[in-house]
Amino acid sequence: MINKEMHLREDLFEGKEKSPTRSGFGKGAVEAGKADERVVVLSADLAESTRADAFQKEFPERFVEVGVAEQNMATVGAGMAAYGKIPFITSYATFSPGRNWEQIRTTIAINNVPVKICGMHAGLLTGPDGATHQALEDIALMRAMPNMIVISPCDAEEGRKATLAAAKNGLPTYLRFARDKTPVMTTPETPFEIGKAQIFWKSKNPKVAVFATGPLVYNALLAARELEGHGIGTAVVNVHTIKPLDKELIVALARETGSVVTVEEHQIMGGLGGAIAELLARECPTPIEFVGIQDKFGQSGEPKELMEHYGLGVSHISAAVSKVLGRK
């Protein structure tokens, strides 16, 4: 059942309220800008699409257009951060942190300056634009980088909070956002702290821990409700921070349940599944099934049909739960 302490939306399972996580960034950036005049937003010719335009309207003097030049955006951002600004650099995730990875590594991460890399259009939710624009490797790119915090919000409201939290953490930070509208699960009262994973659902006697990140947390909740109807208890955890991972909570739930499913809109290699496998192999070896992209690129299509085609649907999560139970 839903964990009341998380103050999730009462009408959660009706899925009425939908919004893209990138809109959460747009709101969060404006709020962060109001709270701290050091906040600046950089755009690489995608201000509307990234929702950076919300900040642009509010604070035109603190909005920096760099043109279609993601390497320049990262390095200009690094220079601004070295001066004392808090730059949010915005583009599609395949371009930033994709194209400008080395600039991020040298000038942001090694320098350890607080630039916030905001990668929009992450995952299959990008839809019709096709494989070139569907970032499915960005978490791996950022996770492997020392000094980098990696956050993947589950909905627009959490995207807003993550943006605000990133503005305050003083560290290089990657924020992952998606294009398409997805159900809003959390409310302003839902707690958010970087590095603290959240149990959204816990059956009375959970047999499987489902660790999910991004908008797919919703599919994990739908699967959990369905499985409970069949007498299979689960715990569903929103792992919004992939680095640093909430080791304590993940290990405790793996111990309690004895089997794990990971769910992400990203390659299994190097993503959330990889991170949890690395942790549990050391701390608490546990059977794991991975719901994610199986070493493939995406293609054009509507997000819903892509999710089904690539095995990220509710039925796929339920099947992974059944399969991991059989391995116990």
Binding site: V66, Q71, N72, A78, A82, G84, K85
Partner: protein, 288 residues
Amino acid sequence: MTITDVEVKAIELKANDIRQTIIRMLTAAGSGHTAGPLGMSDIFAALYFHVLKHDPKNPDWAERDRLFLSNGHIAPVLYATMAHSGYFPVEECLTLRKFGSRLQGHPERHALPGLESTSGPLGSGISQAAGYAYAARMDSPPAGGFRVYVATSDGEHDEGNSWEGAMFASAKKLGNLTQVIDRNFIQIDGNTEDVMPLEPFGDKYRAFGWHVIDIDGNDIRQFVAACEEAKTVTDKPTLIHARTVPGKGIKSIENDYLWHGKPPSKDEEVVFLEELSLAREALLKAGK
């Protein structure tokens, strides 16, 4: 800021000291780049002993001029110059590239006070310096009291990021930014015009909207004058297009691209230091 003959002579002597330290540190390290650091010794001596506002005892001084080194592989000239300026003991230069040293093979901002940024991967310095200069100008009132400098190489202008930064600095009219390019016509694989032609280099920057000053980069008077001229141009960034001689000071290696990325041997060290010592004596005599 005019410069007197006495001051020029003093800087030339410093440049000679810096060259000798570069030879010693590279030989001790057993790897590293020789040609670029020797070619830029005059400019770095002029920067640290005349042009830049800085305080070796207070490297974080808020009003210091900021110098970003983009082509991090010429770190030996930066380290040697900083040491001779008093940032750290000259003998520490002999730890270059050694385990535990503050003098990393390529400059690492957190390793050594006085470095503005980490660099080595090429082409990223102009954008960082431009971002810094832009951020300083954004503040109301604009942060004053200092200028932003970036030292770059010609080879790194093969990188798209260099030109992206050049466009940005021009678009934002960054009059508080001066770039000094080490135009020495060599890179690892050969002469720049054979590897990937850059000419007409100065005209490219003029077309990009920069104020360009062409100088002999081994002439201290010309360099100091160019730095002064740059300060008078407030509506665009300035490029000091400095033609330098790679390997300057060691006749047998000058202009030889094979010396871009290798250090002297122990035997060569003795010969090179002898040549530099003789040059130093000649400089001293000429002043009398």
